[in-house]
Symmetry: C2
Subunit: 188 residues, 2 copies
Amino acid sequence: MAEIASLDALAGLMARQRAVREFTNDPVDDGLIERLLEAATRAPSAKNEQVLRFVVVKRPETKQQVAAIVGETPGPGRTPWDEVPVLVFVCAANPFGETATGAAAQAGSVYPGIQNLLLAARSAGLGTVLTTSRAKIKEAELRALLNLPQGTDIYAIIPMGWPVAKIGKNRRRPVAEVAYRERFGDAW
Amino acid sequence: MAEIASLDALAGLMARQRAVREFTNDPVDDGLIERLLEAATRAPSAKNEQVLRFVVVKRPETKQQVAAIVGETPGPGRTPWDEVPVLVFVCAANPFGETATGAAAQAGSVYPGIQNLLLAARSAGLGTVLTTSRAKIKEAELRALLNLPQGTDIYAIIPMGWPVAKIGKNRRRPVAEVAYRERFGDAW
């Protein structure tokens, strides 16, 4: 019987999930990456369709091609994408269709798994940042580079590596400001 | 320094997240619900907009009104919504707009928090099931019932309570079937 995280330990972890954009040059072991991907597969999906697919990019040549396509602006405290140890491309086909219900089913099948991946990375001490911008996910060029089949799209790019700085607690609005009882506006 | 879940403990928890639709009559303590909501607030959001709002429904009259609006088909192994101890309505305004980038930013700001809520509930032994169907989230009627302000929409309804049955492990495709190296289709 495997150990299961207590609410205390889980809350402690979630309070320390922060976007990390600066990474050391230390490599990330494939066995560890596989454990993070396994965590991602465990998330729920509508009709248990398990839509998520992952392309893990570690080769310098591929990262350079990604960086050239994305053409990001370099900045302080940001490791350029061609120097980030790992880029995880989170992809999926959409079996639910383009209706409002289909779009919600798809979103609810993609992002919980992404969150599992980010939480698992954090628990291992790895830094990540969730990138969903369509401006960065230049669909046509990156699809060609990654050889994505028709119907499979990129939902997120997750740079990952060992953080340069300590990952502290995040800051969030207190529950009293975002939760209500029975009706919106009625104080929790 | 709070305890932080290890990858082992987190993986053990994630492997045991399953949809639960049958609940005992036992009430769920408000203090516990607040801890789950706090876990949800800790998730990342685009530009740290923290878009999530929660309406927690526990009163029998409100639940009966919800059940009447949703008009779900009763079935074996499913507690009717008017008898579920807690219905959590996950709501949000969308500050990112209706472009493809805006929609991705919004989805990436809503569902990670939902997943935090579901994982936190599971770690406490609570059962939940994620409902995103627009057919169930009958927007106009439920908006009126919950007194939602204009621009704030319902993204999910989460029935929650103590499970009747033991929550076992979920079954998922192995990583080798969903992960690739460098290019889609190249074996992990």
